[in-house]
Amino acid sequence: MSRRIIGPFNRVEGDLEVTLEIESGRVRAAYVNSPMYRGFEQILAGKHPLDALVYVPRICGICSVAQSAAAAQALAQSMGIQAPQNGILAANLTLAAENLADHLSHFYLFFMPDFAREGYRGRAWFADAESRFKSVSGSATADVLPVRAKFMNTMGYLAGRWPHTLALQPGGSSRPLEEAERLRLKILLAEFRTFLERTLFGDRLESVAALHSEAALFAWMESRSLGADFPRFLSIARDLEMHTMGRATDRFMSFGAYSDGEQHVFKSGVWQDGQLQVLDTNAIREDVTSSWMAGNDALSPDEGLTVPQPDKEGAYSWCKAPRLSGQVVETGALARQMVAGHPLVRDLVARHGASVMARVVARLLEFTLVLPVMESWLRQIQPGAAFCLPATEIEDARGVGLIEAARGSLGHWLDVRNGKIHNYQIIAPTTWNFSPRDAAGEPGALEQALVGLVAQEGSDAAPLAVQHVVRSFDPCMVCTVH
């Protein structure tokens, strides 16, 4: 057996190191280390409750709006207020725009460039993948960067700027829209739809959204020219058998995405043992056995503690290990669509379990599901009607914000005492997925997903399969530890 430390991983939005134990050319065990600690939960203690809206987006450059949305929801709950209809629509539009931009960045900038690596030179698709997806110089980058930047102009209207907006407030949105601005947003969404249909899918969004099984997906792929990027990915994924790579626990969690105040567009729940169950967030505990954090007991985030202990024996990551009813769960686009019940995603998982392919398919599928909903929200905005209620002063109150970021379930737990933040606990999506081992020795989702992958002994390079599996989770390492 040999031991290999791989790092720093890049294209993972932050810092990551993975230690692999390799035996007979396969990964026998993996240890995932989040090697940076900043301490937002410590920074927030003692602050004015609304100051959370300044600090928490700055946990993360790529999902800053998701952090804002979770904080706004926790604050709203603690204040007992609910945003007016326009405020809810504007906040959902802002979060959806970020989530889709993140899906775009992940696919084109972080995930696909690995297929242009030298290790794949022998493959029939290599020349095409190299000219299309090579990092920095590939033709896709030149197509996507201006499209992404233009799409992010939605943020100029909805949020003032991105990242790090203060527009999402507990009472709604600080940015009322005029009719002219609503129309400009509509044009920006239409332009983005054109790019997705022409370049990413080579088909109408509605046609892709209607694919209901693996067989239908590949039949659709065969019927498309490889001029579009999703068929390109499917063809590569089939050749590399990516449906067999990266299975974790097949226990999926979603907090529910895009609430209108009563219902979610994608519902909340837990999928395990082949069926959907109600999510009980009171069953969440954060274990710190393998984390450089003080404490012994796995605490509820209501009562969570964040005290670094850098010299802790047996620890190997700054990341805590969140567990649901003591169990490891996977979160992200795949989990969200498993819980929401998209038939294509459920079919892929029923056949092969979670995989690199299923994660990427679920992520891209969300373009086809979310953009039409955004178009509908925009139609419902009523310029002239209220966008925001004033915040109320709170002395002693608690609030919880549970939302879905692009890469999965994000929770904020707020405890206000004497008008100040007494405790603020954050569990980010990648905290779940990239958590270290818990007290029972159970490895986190990525640690499980890496086991069994092919890895040559005696080299300190990162095996390609390992890179695909790591990035298939769409990790956000800066959120993970915060």
């Binding site: 430390i5 791989i6 790092g7 720093p8 890049n10 294209r11 939005e13 810092d15 190191e17 090697p35 940076m36 600690y37 900043r38 301490g39 410590q42 004015h48 609304l50 100051d51 700055r58 946990i59 450059g61 960045s105 900038l109 460039p113 690596r117 990092s135 030149a142 960067l145 201006p146 992404r148 930047a149 992010m152 939605t154 100029g156 209207y157 949020a159 003032g160 700027r161 991105w162 990242p163 790090h164 907006t165 203060l166 527009a167 407030q169 009472g171 600080s174 940015r175 005029e178 670094p308 850098p310 700054w318 310029p383 966008f387 209620l389 004033p390 915040a391 390079a461 990162a462 800066v478």
Partner: protein, 340 residues
């Protein structure tokens, strides 16, 4: 003119991230250009490695760092995004690279050989948000700790080409601040005189956020917003520091047509050292006897008080009512005569 400036070949740029959120990189990707990478190439920048954008991972990336540190690869521009984490106890252990070296140490080694050293964002410049609260991670900037010179590299540090650390402060930075600064470095057009007192490029730091603010008419009449989404001026009650803060956010806009004040919320001074700990709630203007303690830059207090009281008494009904509404309840009167 320095040696690097006259060189015709591209400048090698290495970008590292430490105690921050990566938001300055994500902001850079919003750049309003045909293709960011083509633009960098066109202004004479060769991207050696970037943590979010490059192919090379793990050992391949480490080889690039070591080649730069040893001089085998010329390191013309070192960009750091995120604060330097000196903790715990000065060890740098809050951010370790693979095989144990602290990022703090790696940055120090690379800064010794870099032609230019650039702090991208307020964290890398001054410590920023990461230094908030009790600064548990001992976060500091490359050459500043808050508003005091020093930081990781020390007050006397000069990169090989002669400049101190260039602080592109902002949380996040505007994409064009970064591209224009890199362009000026590549062409040799950035000198000491082009940096302000906090070593920020004057190309954006010579303006105030107030310049170009669309709430100007409300400001003139001190017609003030009372809650988020109100159209009025954000200075009197909502914590806005735009009249004091150096940046051109309302001249060159963000994400097309945006800015913080256009987004309906206060300028929180994110380009200034120490913005992370203002000593008051961010969204509430601190006042003494009803007068904001943060007066507009270069404005004598007596004049401000006198003008504010005069303009408040002269506020047109339209401005007064619209200021506390989320849409114009009264639109500007249209006269049948042409504007003169």
């Amino acid at each position: 003119m320095n040696e690097l400036a006259v060189r015709k070949e591209s400048l090698n740029l290495l970008w590292l991230q430490s105690g921050g959120c990566g938001g300055c990189t994500l902001s850079l990707l919003n750049a309003d250009c045909r293709n960011l990478f083509d633009t960098l190439k066109a202004i004479g920048i060769n991207l050696l490695w970037h943590p979010s954008l490059s192919e090379q991972s793990a050992n391949e990336a480490r080889e690039i760092f070591e080649a730069c540190a040893s001089g085998a690869t010329r390191l013309d521009i070192l960009c750091l995004e995120g604060a330097v984490l000196k903790g715990p106890n000065g060890s740098g252990g809050f951010h370790r690279m693979t095989h144990g070296e602290s990022m703090m140490n790696l940055v120090e080694r690379l800064a010794k050989v870099a032609g230019h050293t650039v702090a991208v964002g307020s964290c890398a410049a001054f410590g920023g948000i990461t230094a908030g609260g009790g600064n548990h991670t001992e976060a500091c900037g490359l050459q500043y700790e808050d508003d005091t010179q020093g930081g990781l590299l020390g007050e006397d540090y000069r990169a090989q080409a002669g400049l101190p650390v260039v602080n592109i402060a902002g949380c996040p930075t505007h994409p064009n601040w970064v591209i224009e600064t890199l362009s000026a470095l590549a062409s040799g057009d950035m000198r000491d005189k082009d940096l302000d007192v906090f070593h920020r490029p004057r190309l954006y730091a010579d303006h105030l956020v107030h310049h170009g603010c669309t709430r100007n008419e409300y400001y003139e009449f001190k017609a003030s917003a009372l809650k988020p989404s109100d159209l009025g001026c954000l200075m009197e009650h909502m914590g806005c520091k735009g009249t004091q803060v150096h940046a051109d956010c309302n001249i060159r806009l963000w994400n097309g047509e945006g800015s913080c004040t256009r987004g309906g919320y206060a300028c929180i001074a994110c380009t200034e050292p120490g913005f992370e700990e203002p000593g008051h709630a961010f969204g509430i203007t601190p006042k003494i006897a009803g007068i904001p303690i943060g007066l507009p830059t270069d404005m004598p207090k007596a004049w401000f008080v006198a003008l504010a009281s005069l303009s408040k008494s002269a506020t047109p009904k339209r401005v007064k009512e619209n200021a506390v509404s989320d849409h114009q309840v009264i639109t500007p009167a249209t006269k049948r005569l042409r504007p003169k």
